[in-house]
């Protein structure tokens, strides 16, 4: 796998971590809570090499 793809997977894992951190930290805005989860879906599927 080219190094640039490895870096992309590392980025994706970091983004998933940041999204879940924000999901846990958010206390009020329900829309944001849901959006953090939805935005994480493509990154999860990419890291798992499904899509």
């Amino acid at each position: 796998m080219p190094i640039i793809m490895v870096i992309y997977y590392i980025f994706s894992i970091c983004l998933i971590g940041m999204l879940f951190y924000n999901f846990i930290k958010e206390k009020e805005n329900k829309t944001d809570i849901l959006l953090y989860l939805i935005v994480a879906i493509p990154f999860i599927l990419r890291v798992l090499r499904i899509k």
Binding site: I4, M5, Y8, F23, I24, K27, E28, K30, I33, L34, L37, I38, A40, I41, I44, L45, R46, L48, R49, I50, K51
Partner: protein, 387 residues
């Protein structure tokens, strides 16, 4: 537990269920193996990586079926599923591999040219993941692929794809489109390497003619046609006129534009001695203004919006209440392939290919595609390959 915590747990559960369900479906699609039976004419089966080692072990590698006659003659390469969402191409190749017998010359068939693309799905348009073809022994399930290779194999896309070697600027997506990455290079992006491997096959096997099978929108002018560069034009024109006269369907000729690079019908001719042909059959499913993208629309091609557009003269093919059934499209392809073989033999007797067992347009329309597909459970395991 606070109210917001309860809400978070509910949301997390729902999103997790959606992700798991979607993930399982997408995983099954990517790893689904379509059995193809090496028919009576198949003399050996190789891999595309035999011509370029670097793609070995990747999802870009694919099967290459050799159908060789007892006598020497011409050589033809037939490529299908360059765009794996144009399903008529793969079905035509399946019929060829499972039925054709070559008495003289040889025909080489690659049923899944963009193997990665055939394991990719199109996001956002609600395409079915699979489709079924009815056969006398049950239904055969095939993957519905995508136009481009999967980003899981080739990533990232550039901002602009700079074609090699002409440096023409193209859409970023075209770097994963194996009908823009010809003639390819051995150390380029993976899809350029796939095209390079095919070019090596063409050069090393002394291929005389290459046919790249496609399907196109009814609203796209380059549909229902044979695309050919100058060197293939005479054969293409004669084939077009002959199928119209003898078999009663239209298949006009489009010239391959010399200024539009990366296409098979352009680069194969420019970078090898082979004569390229690209076959297009109408595929209403790919048109934008249609109803839901159902399996019915894919296989039968009936759509009220396209019918309305047809009445306004906005389509480039005849279109009525019957739609464009897949059997008609596949039948057109088999007949045009046979006629190209016939015309090549007439014009270059030393490149003669004698092929039997390939059904013609009327036979495919009458019997359906499934009639020409072999039940994998009825043959020895060593005759079964997976695409």
């Amino acid at each position: 537990m606070t109210r917001i915590q309860r809400l978070k747990i509910i949301m997390l559960t729902i999103v997790a269920i959606i992700t798991v369900i979607a993930g399982i479906q997408l995983y099954q699609h990517r790893h689904y193996q379509i059995p193809i039976v090496a028919g009576p004419g198949v003399t050996r089966v190789g891999k595309l990586s035999d011509y370029h080692e670097e793609i070995k072990g990747t999802m870009a590698d694919t099967n290459v079926f050799f159908l060789e006659g007892k006598e020497e003659g011409g050589s033809m390469l037939i490529i299908a599923n360059t765009h794996a969402n144009e399903i008529v191409a793969g079905l035509t190749a399946f019929m060829l591999v499972e039925n054709a017998v070559i008495e003289k010359g040889r025909v080489i068939v690659i049923p899944q040219f963009n193997n990665s693309g055939s394991r990719n799905t199109r996001s956002g348009d609600g395409y079915p993941l699979f489709f079924d073809i009815d056969t006398p022994w049950g239904s055969k399930t095939l993957r519905m692929g995508n136009r481009d290779a999967s980003p899981l194999e080739q990533w990232p896309d550039p901002l602009i794809y700079v074609h090699y070697p002409d440096r023409q600027l193209m859409s970023y997506l075209d770097v994963r489109n194996t009908n823009r990455t010809w003639p390819g290079r051995p150390d380029g992006p993976l899809m350029e390497q796939v095209c390079y491997a095919a070019m090596e096959l063409i050069r090393n096997e002394n291929i005389d003619a290459v046919i790249d099978i496609h399907g196109a929108e009814t609203m796209f002018p380059v549909t229902n046609c044979i695309v050919a560069p100058q060197k293939s034009m005479r054969i293409a024109t004669m084939a077009s006129m002959t199928v119209k006269a003898k078999e009663g369907f239209d298949n006009h000729v489009e010239p391959s534009p010399s200024g539009f690079r990366g296409l098979s019908h352009r680069e194969i001719g420019d970078f090898s001695d082979a004569m390229p042909f690209l076959l297009e059959a109408p595929l209403p499913f790919l048109d934008q203004p249609t109803g839901p993208k159902t399996m019915d629309l894919l296989l039968v091609g009936k759509d009220p919006f396209l019918l309305s557009l047809s009445e306004k003269g906005m389509l480039f093919v005849p279109y009525d209440e019957e739609g464009w059934p897949i059997r008609n499209r596949a039948g057109q392809h088999t007949s045009v392939i046979l006629e190209i073989i016939n015309q090549m033999t007439k014009q270059y007797p030393e490149k003669e290919i004698i092929a039997t067992g390939i059904p013609k347009y009327k036979e495919v329309v009458e019997n359906g595609i499934g009639y020409y597909l072999t039940d994998p459970s009825s043959v020895d395991a060593e005759k079964i390959y997976y695409e």
